[in-house]
Amino acid sequence: MQHWYMLTLVGKDRPGIVAHLSAALFDGGCNLGEASMMRLGGNFTIMLMVEFDGNTHALQQMVASVAESMGLHLHLDRINAQLHKHLEPDVRITVYGADKAGIVARITGALAEAGLHILDMDSSVAGTADKPIYIMQIEGHAAEGVDSLQSALNVVAEKGIEAHLEAIDTMIG
């Protein structure tokens, strides 16, 4: 019986990890679902949905040797996969400014109260070591409308932090 698992791998980045990993999974009889790989602060991170005809232990064993050979830590969860049911974002928020603690908590806190369901979020620390800047992009669903989010954003916006919101009007043709 096929089961879906969420496989998370973290470690030092180097070229070829995705190719090596996906080949090992394919050779082991796995099918891949949705995946997201990001390089965060020079670290390789990936989360991928893996469909496998076996139990957690068997999959863990199969992936462990590959992960170890590439110096990656792994985490495996059995999941309930929901494919073909994407939630579509209808709002995009970009925030940037001098990097300081608390920006994300304050802004996402206000937006969550105003009905934001974050579907996709990523952030970078750019600039230089002595003048770091924080840049965050969020896509989400505005359950209480985009205006509600804009009002919330106006309240939490502060000097030195730029926060912009725009509706995503998806054209279906």
């Binding site: 579509e88 970009t94 840049i135 725009e166 009007d169 054209m171 279906i172 043709g173």
Partner: protein, 168 residues
Amino acid sequence: MAKLEILTYPDERLKQESVPVEVFDEELRGFLADLEETMRAGPGGVGIAAPQVGRFARIVLVDCSVTRKPVPNHGFMVLINPEITEWDGMKVGREGCMSVPDYTGNVIRAERITFSAFDGDGVRHEYQCEGFEARAVQHECDHLDGMLFLDRLVSRRNDLFRRKVYQK
């Protein structure tokens, strides 16, 4: 009128080129009515191209008068043998397609286009469109050349702040 079946990728037929319409007759107008019904039955669909229902003729319908948020539009347009002649400006926008269920992605399109097309009676018209409507026309015309928005996907991230910079 009858609702037609929509071809969905990976149906290879969506990748084929459509041929110009040469006869403007009752059969064609009957098909246009069916195509319109099919477009209106799709959730949120503002456009449709004939190849999406398996008729490989250069026919496109667009109606941006029904969007959730009002946009500049020409109402319901029947565009037969459309020819885009001018493209101006570029903008990233989100697109989805009735032939590609459960996926949307960012695509760069011209902001303003000039084009000509024949109507169902074989009369040629000139149009100028902008924004959302221009995007819809370009998306549908792509279908006539076997192109899907998947062929034009750009990074989810690459429009960061661009618009704001232009506005300042």
